[in-house]
């Protein structure tokens, strides 16, 4: 059975929460963390679209290799 699902706001929020939790942003930028989180969350879908373009061309896909950065 083939089925496709759109990226819902709920799904994106879940991805964002997991992504953010696995970074060291909170530890490294404690003072500005809440503002950073707010901005990243608001722009998350666009950031992912940019990341997917460059990681998709990278030999390290699904990651982005240093050569593609």
């Amino acid at each position: 059975m083939i089925s496709f699902k759109e990226d819902t706001a709920e799904h994106l929020l879940r991805c964002f929460t997991e992504d953010l939790a696995s970074t060291k942003i909170q530890q490294a930028f404690r003072r500005d963390y809440l503002q950073i989180k707010e901005v990243l969350q608001a722009e998350y879908a666009k950031i992912v679209a940019v990341f997917l373009f460059y990681s998709g061309q990278s030999h390290a896909y699904p990651s982005m290799a240093v050569e593609d950065f």
Partner: protein, 143 residues
């Protein structure tokens, strides 16, 4: 590639090649516990961190006190304007709402899986672009 196309590299400014590479390396080092290999690459979540680190470099030299604002400015005025991006959500949306495409894929599901399985095995779960092109040409498609 990304930093060049997004217009982030400025020879005289704060975001020169060296400082951008420092942001990249610091992110890799900060998440060393999660890394399985020594490969120099960043995952999607690490990419978020790299962007924040670049904004921090810009903020340090601009004298602005708000890192959130600098990050917003970096994204909206530089990265999103110049960097390339996929139209994944638009494509998905089109696919979800295109009953004919779904029907066609459904109908040819077995053959598609066979083609996928032909190119993949236990240790290789992706079909490369070159393999897709070879398959399309084998099917006499003009690619």
């Amino acid at each position: 590639m990304f930093t060049q196309e997004a217009g982030l590299i400025s020879k005289a400014g704060p975001t020169n090649e060296l400082s951008l590479m420092k942001c990249f390396t610091e992110t890799i080092v900060s998440s060393i516990n999660y890394r399985q290999t020594g490969e120099k690459s960043v995952s999607r979540s690490e990419f978020l961190e790299v962007l924040v680190r670049i904004a921090a470099v810009m903020q340090a030299t601009s004298g602005k006190s708000n890192l959130g604002e600098t990050l917003k400015q970096l994204l909206r005025e530089t990265v999103f304007k110049k960097a390339k991006k996929t139209a994944r959500s638009e494509f998905l949306s089109m696919l979800v709402n295109d009953a004919k495409s779904i029907e066609l894929l459904q109908k040819n599901c077995t053959a598609l899986w066979q083609a996928y399985n032909y190119f993949t095995h236990d240790k290789k779960n992706k079909v490369t672009l070159e393999e897709c092109v070879a398959l399309a040409r084998h099917c006499q498609l003009d690619v």
